[in-house]
Symmetry: D3
């Protein structure tokens, strides 16, 4: 049972436990109902249709359940797909914990937490340091559980914290390369910038936007949290350093058009925006490219202006003999 769905080749048959991520009931052209499933395990997600679904089927096979699936791995219009032979709910004693089937961050939560803590020591502005620590402690659990987005990038359990630590590593390198940069401000901004996702989104499973996410949005939510933190910590929220910190968050989407109520007007806010861009776009391109054969293009990537990206044939490294010929 250790083999995962994407360990099978196309046209292989398999017999696997999978988590139902989505289960949309639709009506086929012949008038009968079917279920359009998205299954997942830690190796990725795959669609499959279950035809002529009965009402008990529809009640049983809902999102969030683990099921035993017999089927065949196929490709349909360029996308992986399951041809279903049999599907049933799990029995007692069989694996049934949804979390075990979900992709998660490639690093351990404890390591990320420790690394963030080390950076917090470098936030040598008292107000910023205290606000960051207060909010990281308040939302500690969610911060390590939530994805960084509903889809698009780092859309997996723990994605928020992994996106944050990746950005922090870039931020540290950049802050050292350009010594004029205000490190406490930049690091505080990186750590808090997307924390509002833990209220904008519903969670790591079947992720949806909350009402607050739709009507207020994660950017303003963090701003509100800073106000509350200042109240709790008796910090003057009209002090310049708190205004700067709030500006970091408010401006991090870079453009009004992308939902920031103000554009970056402080150097570190502009840099935060650019670091966010780099980490998110590399994550999106890597995800798409690893599903793409060499010599072909990826599917369109929505978060990259719907571009498709080429996966080169060219070997990255010329062998030594060839290199020696260079001289």
């Amino acid at each position: 049972m250790d083999k995962k769905i994407f360990d099978y080749n196309v046209d292989d048959t398999f017999d696997l436990f999978l988590l139902i991520k989505n289960a949309d009931v639709r009506v086929a052209k012949n008038g009968k109902k079917f279920i359009a499933f998205t299954f997942q395990d830690t190796s990725g997600q795959i669609d499959g249709k279950y035809w002529d679904a009965s009402d008990p089927d529809i009640e049983a096979f809902t999102a969030g359940n683990v099921v035993k699936v017999s089927g065949k791995r196929e490709i349909y219009q360029g996308n992986p797909q399951v041809k279903l032979f049999k599907i049933r709910l799990t029995n007692t004693g069989e694996p049934s914990t949804p979390e075990h089937f979900i992709e998660s961050a490639p690093e351990r939560k404890e390591d990320i937490a420790e690394e963030i803590n080390q950076v917090i020591f470098e936030i040598t502005n008292a107000n910023m340091n205290r606000v960051v620590r207060h909010l990281m402690s308040k939302y500690q659990k969610e911060f390590f559980q939530f994805p960084a987005a509903k889809k698009h990038h780092h859309a997996y359990m723990g994605g928020l914290s992994f996106h944050t630590i990746s950005m922090l590593r870039l931020a540290k390198f950049i802050a050292n390369q350009y010594p004029e940069i205000n490190k406490p401000l930049l690091y505080s901004g990186v750590i808090l910038h997307d924390l509002g996702k833990v209220m904008e989104l519903s969670g790591a499973l079947s992720t949806e936007y909350t009402l607050e996410g739709n009507l207020v949005g994660h950017i303003v939510i963090v701003d509100e949290e800073i106000i509350k933190a200042c109240a709790a910590l008796k910090i003057d929220d009209k002090s310049e350093d708190i205004i700067l910190l709030k500006h970091m968050i408010l401006a991090h989407h870079g453009q009004l058009d992308y939902g920031s109520p103000v554009r970056p007007r402080v150097r570190e806010a502009e840099i935060l925006h650019q670091i966010d861009n780099i980490d998110a776009s590399i994550n999106m391109m890597n995800s798409a490219l690893q599903r793409t054969e060499p010599g072909t293009f990826t599917e369109r990537i929505f978060g990259m202006d719907n571009r498709t990206f080429y996966n080169p044939n060219v070997p990255k490294v010329t062998n030594e003999e060839q290199m020696e010929l260079l001289d």
Copy 2:
């Protein structure tokens, strides 16, 4: 001394007390300094240049001072202008209170306050009602003093409250014409929508953007104030009615491009945005048209996409005789 600057005709000479609104020191092409003044009294604002200014002149004639001016009213490239003969500071006993020289709202503060109070009775949602009353009481003084904008529209002492009451009157009519509208939500939104101006701007005299105005902006400032009001009033700021109220404020610029972090996604938020537009644009057009001769176009109005507007020659009303001929 009752005659105001705009009571004089072009080419009249005058001898008046005026408030210095701006006093920019510049260097003329001949290398000597001059002061580019903007003077004002309650009839309006007018520019004038003071040539060959000495250093004591520059120190004496600064913004915020009332001065005695002898000069001639002129027109320069379509704009009113003062040709200065003499200027001096006021002596003891002469008028010197800046506020007496500033244009202000055309209705009495007490009447506006009373009318707003009557509308608050119609805010029959407990949470909204309490938040609105709390914030109106907290910023009562500033609300009746501040302009609604630095320039563009209602840019005078008390402009914020007059803009608000004008919008409330439109809101009440519209809410009655379309009974599906949620009155408590719409009225609360109207009253609070621009309250953040009292922190975004520096005041009614020599109005400038504050640091918070530049880096956070009046939209998010009101959102923060609602959070603080909920804390003070022990209201759950995650309740749906508070989320809706915050959305009203956050969305009131209508477009992300105009600085709203979210677009209107609730009917009343869209209506609030449109009412704001109507009152602001009528105010801008009226201001420009009243300075424009019939049969000609206004100067370009920045807030109206730089359009110029035509002031018709045509009499609004045909006399009775003519009308009788119609039948």
Copy 3:
């Protein structure tokens, strides 16, 4: 037979007379033809598919016919739908007048006509008054029959006149609140602004764009009608008041991008544009929201930049007890 289609709940079966609004013949994946119907009665519109349609079926069941339908009310991907059991043409003696099955304006034509006439008395500019009366008389019948649009807003029988009277009510209130406004000009503009729809569109049933609608458009059509009215009434069409009146119509879409050949350059033209916006958008939001459960979002509204709108759970009115606690 008094129960309408939307009086039935989902999963109810029914036996009803319905008007065929659209009947598109398509080919199913199995190669056989089917008819994609849109039915309607005065409670609204609903789709339904008729599988394996024979050629006589296709000839019989065309748009504009009333039919007797047995079926079941369902929901398909969030939209109401009919599952058809049986369909037949009506027999003699059964209801068969299409107009009786069409949604229409919520006020009586006579009342609207009377109210418009009252406003015309306030058009105290002889040229404008005569042109308005001439055109309202020339297109009286169509004005009260046509919808205001093919879809989007006021897309029902009489929608044009109801949209016009709603705008007139807003115009009167606004003209009184801002006394600088030229009432004759504003009211004339409101009454005539969309009259060209009676030539742009084909009628109230199976509404389509006419050739003139596609190649000339309702905005220029009204301009032409004013030219013809001036000729009939021996009014100089180069007089300033006629130029102003034409400008009101030409500029009423506000932006060149939306099909106005000139942007508003007269105060009343800008106001006409904004009033049109308000009435149309409230109409679109109301239509969508009344089909939406509290606590959920509407479908995307094309005319509102494809936004979805939230229908709040929050009761509009707090009960009296709660309100008393406020003090």
Copy 4:
């Protein structure tokens, strides 16, 4: 007296009759008035400043007068300029007809008229033919006098007719190259497309926009003229050929953004738009390039998206010897 202003080299002094095109009175930094002149003769336009202008000077030297000017031809920031030594009004017997000083079309009015008449014979659609002849006859005088624009392109006496005949020549060639093209429709559209300029603009001298030009615009003005022509000629203005003809005019700016109320939806309307573009842009580029030294760039051309264009050094033609070497 045959030498024109642009026949003089930079730094030459001259003694010439010139027409005052514009005469703006301004106040210098020293408080004294000066007149900013634009002079012209048939070789072009040139600016010059007249310092310390007395009130009688200001009254005498107004736009539309011919004056005797002594001065020096200079270059100021890349633009030609006159340094004024002396200026006086003309005496009896000296040249004083403004029209003699204005640049005009490079072909004779009679020849253009004859060529247009020949094309009208090819308009073998009776309705279009009659409307075109009616309007060409109605506005014959203005058509040969007016410029095609206030500035930008063909902005000289007779420019409208010259722009029209240039476009007609292109239209004829294109209609022959692509035989599917409807010649009567294309030729009618070309002849009438800009005729509204004779009402949009004030005339060939001191050209300004009229009120009708500003509030209605030349595109809709032609549409109105077609309606009036149909009335005079008893042609049904709802016939398809008249709708097509009107569409040609209405759509000829190509984009809504450029003031067309409808985009081209008929092949010939799209072609008319493109022919208009070609002739106008070649005219603008030629005007700018002929004032530009080889090896340098023109000033920015507003009508070409503010681009500057390079005037090559390279001789157009390689001499024969060189060409022989090619083989």
Copy 5:
């Protein structure tokens, strides 16, 4: 066997040799595979679905094969379609050369070649003349085989050369009408402007973008070819005439947004861009209109901003009697 597919009327049955242009294998809602064919012969292209395709079918009926098809010509949602009765591969002796089934340019390759050669004589700049001749000779074969685009315009065998000669004819007329134009530069630019298509695209059959087409693009490819030609011909590629020639190619899409790395900054480059526009858009409109009934609109044309175009009922030519009545 001389009758082509579009010589049959709708609902006719036929028995024809056709080329398979595309053959996409898909899975039907019932889980079985089908082939979505596009067939073509010289009269045009038509779709058809082949249900319940077996694996041998799928292997046999691939793009590039000629097949014998029995079927019925139908219309499906406004587009022509084949209902397949029978399909088989061709036998020995039956027509099987794909090129014989492909639409091609309406003029003979030899005539086009001769006409281009005549124009090359007018390229009286030695460097340009030699580069043009070198590249036309280098890519002679492909130039007369390739289409001008994958779809959109001149998307058929030989389309590239036919597009080029059509543009050359326009260029010659325009260069004569406006004598300031540099003929050698304009003609060289026209001949070379799209030559890069022979590397951007894969060929005339089953046309796809090559990797170089996707990552470099035909505009830069021509620039590179000019560099290589200069090297081969020992021409200085930094000479002004070569820079001008390269600019012609680089700027010919007119806008950065359309993939030109520089906007036209030379008169002839702007004209080249406009000529390209005219020929491409007339070609697209003609193609769509010839498939459209009089009195109806075409399908949306992607390359014309998705507009639909009206095919008029109005006869192009009024008969003589009617015309005589005009006088």
Copy 6:
């Protein structure tokens, strides 16, 4: 003589050698000529006006000359300015080498060269390695002399190489953080991306665009250089690795609108674009901020969408005592 112009405070008088960067001759309102100078030394640039300039003055004091200036350092409308007392050309023996007065990169050319060489060892793709070395060797001298731009960013002697090495450092860190990245491709792209500047611009002194810069642009120039390098090195320029390398250069502006003929379609091309952005924008912000007082905003930065940036008052580092209180 070691003190530089920006070592003086405002209102100090000085006596210094300065390089004339620009010397524009203009005509003052009084009709007399003056020279608008920009002076520079290694501490920065400063403007100054020289009134009533004689013709010999104008001939003597031209751009590129070193002069001895006596004057006073002032501030005019927020910008530094020199009030000139005296100016003369240098005498024999006085400093007169323009290069000694020009700001240059903050690192030594030899160190940068060595660091780039180390990175080239990591370009383990033979084709890329050879092309990079060939071009770096071909343009070695210019690469270390040219600025990276005319103004905007790294606009000083050696700016091109310093911009390149800064980007390489970012590239190395990022390539290590995200191991999927193709290092040879990324590093090659970084090193070559702006090399075309050495032909697009005229040099380090009085930098202007060359004709080739205007009509071809630095992006395509590098593409051409790669083609030439392949010819020289006998590398197949149609091999995939060369196509990828050219794509890196062509796409590095990220958007068509910014002059790239193709958008990034390869992961490393997108990353190159983002690294370029980061380094350029930090350079622009740093330059502007170091001229800006704490607590105020910079002037508008053209390359940052005309935003102004705030220079905070807040000390970057809280002192130790305060930090200890945090725990």
